[in-house]
Symmetry: C2
Subunit: 223 residues, 2 copies
């Protein structure tokens, strides 16, 4: 099943637009407490570097109903992107984030192996230097390559609107930058995003399940 | 010691401008045969995904005189780039490749932990879409951040010339794309590059040591 369909099915079933950022080791335990609230889980290189891909495979296998995203923001030449996405597919990921700025052929090399979530905008200050000015072109690239999921930051709602205007219903929008990075829960969704990514906000609290439940209630899938 | 000094010292000692791309498992055995010819070794995510970072640490420790590059082309937000580069430093890498496209703050987050090799140009066809038009600006970013090593492809000698003109003696230039990707050994160096990266050319031959020696003779450090 295509990634966008898989995550929308899960979102509808559990009535949630929340994605968990599993990027440090202590998150593994938290995932086990909060997974009933999650539409998907994304795993960063910061975790694969520490525990290795075999352990990642074991985690993914424990949650067969939960879509998993390799948030690797791959940005290499086509041959390398091909190998990296094959490896991510082998451990069980449903989709992988790819930097649009590397160009069409590098993105297409991934599509042969795994569903692409295209990074068309980013949440940090430095994104204004080279990324923001190309966001529209990155969206056109997504249209041309029939990509059905993109990343656009919760911290810049105007960019989410731009992305939504260009992609309309072709692609779902996933938004990082909520919580510690400055975005408020629900803002991205209200501006056209489909899913919000939550990480550091949950890590630094005493009762992650309680906080997950609070955020969950702010991010219903059904209105 | 700064990465640029370390690789130039090694290059001078063994009279070579050759960097080996260790990107698949069978390369580990080849490295052991050809390391006397190498100015440095770069390791891609394609290998860390398969054998894990602990095994990477073990390999790096075996060659204390050889500079190692984490060719991870990292392209994430500052917080994530910070963690990724710390991890790479912990396993013993001397430097890490970073995509200039993500902007100043994301690059500076790495500089606190590890020497940066800035990707200012790339070798594949798709690089013409968004990267090539920004190469000059990426070089100015390198100047502003006192970066002393950049990547520019052997397949586009005109881009190497442009990079050299802007950076002059501030930064060394490392060039991928030699061999299978189309560049001839020595062309990049003749056009202003300091080091050429060799990978698939050596992997697909019967006697890697013989081929390494042939390439070595085409890439002397001293003229």
């Amino acid at each position: 099943m295509k990634f966008s369909k898989k995550i929308l099915k899960r979102a509808s079933e559990i009535n949630s637009r929340m994605i968990f950022n599993l990027d440090v080791e202590k998150g593994i335990e938290i995932l086990d407490k909060i997974y009933p609230y999650l539409a998907a889980c994304k795993i960063n290189r910061t975790l694969t570097d520490i525990i290795g891909m075999n352990e990642i495979k074991r985690i993914i296998e424990q949650y067969p109903d939960l879509p998993f995203i390799a948030d690797f923001k791959i940005a290499d030449i086509p041959h390398t992107n091909d190998v990296l996405s094959k490896n991510a597919g082998h451990v069980g990921f449903d989709a992988i984030t790819v930097q649009a700025f590397v160009g069409s052929d590098a993105v297409m090399a991934v599509q042969k192996n795994l569903d692409v979530i295209l990074v068309v905008a980013m949440s940090h200050e430095g994104a204004k230097e080279f990324i923001s000015e190309n966001t529209k072109k990155f969206c056109e690239l997504a249209l041309n390559l029939n990509i059905d999921a993109v990343v656009a930051p919760a911290t810049r709602t105007e960019e989410i609107k731009t992305v939504k205007e260009i992609l309309k219903s072709q692609a779902i929008i996933l938004s990082p930058g909520v919580g510690v990075q400055g975005g408020n829960f629900g803002d991205a969704v209200r501006n056209g995003s489909d899913f919000e990514m939550i990480g550091r906000t949950i890590y630094d609290v005493k009762n992650p399940k309680e906080i997950a439940n609070e955020i969950y209630e702010k991010l219903p899938f059904k209105k």
